[in-house]
């Protein structure tokens, strides 16, 4: 067997450096260099380590057990990071293949720091690479690190520091000579890269860590840039985000698989249902040229929570807004998963949205209840779209606030006389600064509204951020529920601590499709509808539920 030199970029990790530790990568034995260990799992997750929860989840022994990865998964895929798997990277068949992958990564690393290939994020990435003081302040802000019981591989700095060492060694001039002394070393081999790729998907990209950094280093961005490198250079991405997400959306029209005919059929059905539920004839306009508003939903709402697009139609119609949906492929689905992993896919979807709006000649695009669609189309697209494609775009939250706070509709807040708390989607709030409009609505319409602690721009991610909410392969759901969603669940339970038990029905308002899916899943996992009477839903459902001219009982208190 050919032994590679330790610092060679082509080292493939075939050399066994002793029995791999079997415990978690915790405490004194934790070393960043161990990411290159040729064999063994880097860290373990364990129920005993998890952050304690309030009632009714304050019995750690009742915590569901972790489902182990299947033998087939362990044999087929690279799974040497922790006890779960998102990427499903097939194991290379030969050392030669491993070397090629390492070489490709190095090509990608160079592109990541070139202005031609990465003008989009070169400045923030370079500054984050070169100026971290490693003070670990960011770790304390990370819900994943905290909820896992401070598992060291989940520190926001862990993946960043590994990339930083590779950057200094392979990108900066003279790195091969001085980098080890100045910045520490990591051996670049295939096991390290396989772990690093997987580790880039142990972050929700909520950027709460970046908010606390005294220097302005952004570990969330670094996680995203790592995902991007693996996607755009090595073609490594999750099936959920890429094949069944962005690609399907661009080929068929929606990541749900709905083509224009199917989406129109579904909306027709929703209109009928809304007409019956509200007592008002509802008719969703399609492709209305010159409308004031092109509304773009997350198409997942149409499939999973039809009452949400239905409620939008009820409100906009009742308020007399000139609006339309587009039946142009892609334009009826606000999803843009490229935001989480790939600039190319991000740009393609953004352009499609803008082209549809331009074709209809609408005055503005309004984005429905989808946090990442907000961020992608309003903020990110602002530096992608130019000329005629730069059509004004705004959040549905502001339009809804204007409608609710004006006298255009009559409301009866007593219809919402149940405990309500509001989840702040990171993309909408911390990353866009849309904080108050949704609160003003809830304060006006929900007499028993209470905030989570903390909230607003200091909120915690739902745990489904960066697309995790649609990831359920292997046993990843266990990780998503027990670790990434744990802090949000703790917040929800604390917000309803004054009304325990299943008798009092409670409502978590999550004005984001991805967050709503994650909150549904964690409530379901811990049976909190049955045990604690907690239901979830969007903002427009609360608005319609309080509309005096609509038949009472729009919100149905049953699990879905």
């Amino acid at each position: 067997m050919e032994t590679q030199k330790k610092n060679s970029p082509l080292a493939v990790g075939t050399e066994d450096k002793g029995a791999p530790p079997t415990g978690g990568a915790k405490g004194k034995e934790f070393r960043l260099e161990d990411i290159s260990r040729p064999q063994g799992q880097w860290a373990h997750v364990d129920n005993r380590d998890l952050m304690p929860m309030p009632a009714p989840l304050d019995h750690p022994e009742a915590e569901p057990e972790w489902r182990p990865l299947s033998e087939r998964a362990r044999e087929t895929y690279e799974c040497a990071l922790d006890d779960t798997l998102v990427l499903s990277i097939p194991k290379p068949k030969s050392k030669e293949e491993e070397r090629e992958l390492v070489e490709k990564f190095l090509h990608g690393l160079r592109k990541l720091f070139s202005k031609e290939d990465n003008w989009t994020f070169l400045r923030p990435l370079t500054l984050s690479m070169e100026h971290c003081a490693n003070c670990q302040t960011c770790s304390e802000a990370c819900h994943i690190f905290e909820a896992s019981g401070r598992n060291p591989i989940y520190r926001p700095t862990c993946r960043s520091e590994i990339l930083r060492r590779l950057y200094h060694k392979y990108i900066k001039p003279g790195g091969q000579f001085l980098a080890k002394w100045r910045h520490g070393d990591v051996e670049l081999n295939w096991p390290a890269l396989a772990r690093l790729a997987e580790l880039s998907y142990r972050c929700n990209l909520c950027r709460r860590c970046a908010q606390t950094c005294p220097i302005g280093v952004d570990n969330g961005l670094i996680a995203r840039e790592l995902r991007k490198l693996f996607s755009q250079e090595l073609g490594i991405h999750t099936k959920e985000l890429h094949d069944r997400g962005s690609v399907l959306q661009l080929k068929v029209g929606s990541s749900t698989g709905m083509n224009p005919l199917v989406v129109k059929d579904n909306i027709d059905f929703i209109d009928e249902d809304m007409t019956e539920k509200t007592g008002i004839k509802i008719e969703t306009p399609w492709d209305k040229a010159g409308a004031d508003v092109l509304l773009i939903h997350n198409a997942g709402e149409i499939m999973a929570w039809p009452e949400n697009p239905g409620a939008f139609a009820v409100i906009l119609q009742a308020a007399g807004v000139s609006w339309t949906l587009s039946s142009e492929a892609v334009a009826y689905d606000g999803i843009n998963y490229g935001l989480f992993y790939d600039d190319v896919m991000l740009a393609k979807v953004v352009v499609k949205h803008a082209q549809a709006a331009k074709k209809l000649g609408v005055k503005k695009i309004v984005i429905g209840e989808c946090g990442h669609a907000h961020k992608a189309l309003t903020v990110i697209a602002d530096r992608v779209l130019t000329g005629d494609l730069n059509i004004p775009r705004e959040s549905a939250m502001t339009l809804l606030r204007e409608i609710v706070l004006s006298d255009r509709l009559r409301f009866d807040p007593s219809r919402n006389d149940f405990p309500v708390t509001l989840h702040d989607p990171c993309n909408l709030v911390r990353l866009m600064g849309v904080v108050e409009p949704q609160r003003e609505i809830v304060r006006k319409l929900c007499p028993k509204f209470r905030e989570m602690t903390p909230h607003g721009v200091d909120n915690y991610c739902c745990g489904g951020g960066s697309g995790f909410a649609i990831h359920s392969a292997h046993n990843f759901e266990d990780w998503r529920f027990k670790i990434s969603g744990r802090k949000k669940l703790q917040q929800i339970l604390n917000a309803f601590a004054d009304c325990p038990g299943p008798e009092i029905k409670k409502y978590v308002c999550a004005p984001c499709s991805n967050c709503k899916g994650q909150i549904r899943d964690i409530l379901n996992y811990y049976e909190l509808w049955e045990k604690w009477g907690i239901l979830y839903g969007g903002l427009v459902e609360l608005i319609v539920n309080a509309m005096a001219d609509v038949k009472p009982g729009f919100i149905e208190w049953e699990w879905r």
Binding site: W119, T120, R123, H131, A133, W181, E233, L431, G456
Partner: protein
């Protein structure tokens, strides 16, 4: 060998200016990046109190927006001087980091006061404890600022060193350069403080040497090995800092003002649109199949290409 010290200090000053200038230029000339702001953004004015943005308004693009620079300055001041983010999110480390940084600011202030005193002396005004009036006041202020700054810097530096040696969270992320940097800074400050205690209680020797350096009088002596030694080490430190990650003392302006708080919208025909149009013409060479790049197609080509 008085001329050698002068030459080393001039060289170190040149390295400092060149390194800061080069780094500033490199960052400044990087292409425009996609918006990646993080709220609260202080220039949003009153809305910044709840972390809000102009995007909270209906038809926000039709509303006049006046950035609240005063609020940003206030925010920056408390962040740079008091290290507010660390105070709020990592109090344990702030206890050492604040005296360390504040000590360095005071030490820099001490240097500025020395230069000011040297310029006044070159202009004919006597500066020193026995000079009376403005000269005595300046001398007293220089001593107070210098001694406090160096003492705080040493205490903070040693505290940070201890944290890096003992804190289980920080240890895996600490490498030789962290220790070296802290020891270098604390050592330089300690040497200067020792020079003050042993040989130059009103910093008149430092001031006189500064005057000689400003007037290009290369034959002047420092008057004490303590003084010449500390001038040498301080000069080397000044040259070293901007070559390291410690250049965050000015890079922070970019990471906060130009990235975290950059919410400037792209207006049709505006300067941002021109920069975006230029960036969209960069060729793409990413290799993954779905990108479909060939090194010639531009970002604009790729973004508008149909998915196959």
């Amino acid at each position: 060998m008085p001329g050698i010290l002068h030459c080393v200090v001039y060289a170190c000053a040149a390295v400092f200016v060149a390194a800061v200038g080069w780094r500033f230029y490199k960052i400044q000339t990087l292409p425009i990046h996609l918006r990646w702001e993080l709220y609260p953004v202080p220039t949003e004015g009153k809305r910044a109190e709840h972390g809000g943005s102009r995007l909270e308004e209906v038809d926000w693009w039709t509303k006049a927006h006046r950035p609240d620079w005063l609020r940003e300055l206030r925010f920056m001041f408390s962040e740079m001087i008091l290290i507010k983010a660390l105070f709020e999110h990592n109090r344990k480390l702030w206890r050492w980091s604040f005296p360390f940084h504040f000590g360095l600011y005071l030490t820099a202030g001490w240097g500025a006061l020395l230069v000011l005193g040297a310029l006044l002396e070159l202009g004919g005004l006597k500066v020193g404890a026995g000079a009376g009036g403005l000269g005595a006041a300046l001398s007293g202020l220089t001593v107070a600022v210098g001694v406090c700054g160096m003492a705080l810097g040493i205490v903070g530096g040693l505290g940070l060193l201890r944290a890096r040696l003992t804190d289980e969270d920080m240890k895996p992320y600490t490498n030789f350069s962290h220790y070296f940097n802290l020891l270098f800074i604390a050592g330089a400050l300690a040497l200067t403080l020792a020079a003050w205690a042993a040989a130059d209680r009103d910093f008149s020797l430092f001031r006189r040497w500064a005057a000689s350096a400003l007037s290009l009088n290369l034959s002047a002596h420092a008057g004490s090995r303590w003084v010449s030694g500390s001038i040498l080490v301080l000069a080397l430190l000044a040259a070293y800092v901007p070559l390291t990650h410690m250049s965050h003392f000015f890079v922070k302006w970019f990471t906060w003002h130009r990235i975290r708080w950059d919410d400037e919208p792209n207006v049709k025909g505006g300067r941002i649109e021109i920069m975006i149009q230029k960036a969209l013409q960069y060729p793409v060479s990413w290799s993954a199949e779905h990108v479909n790049a060939d090194g010639k197609k531009t970002w604009a080509d790729i973004a508008t290409e149909e998915m196959k």
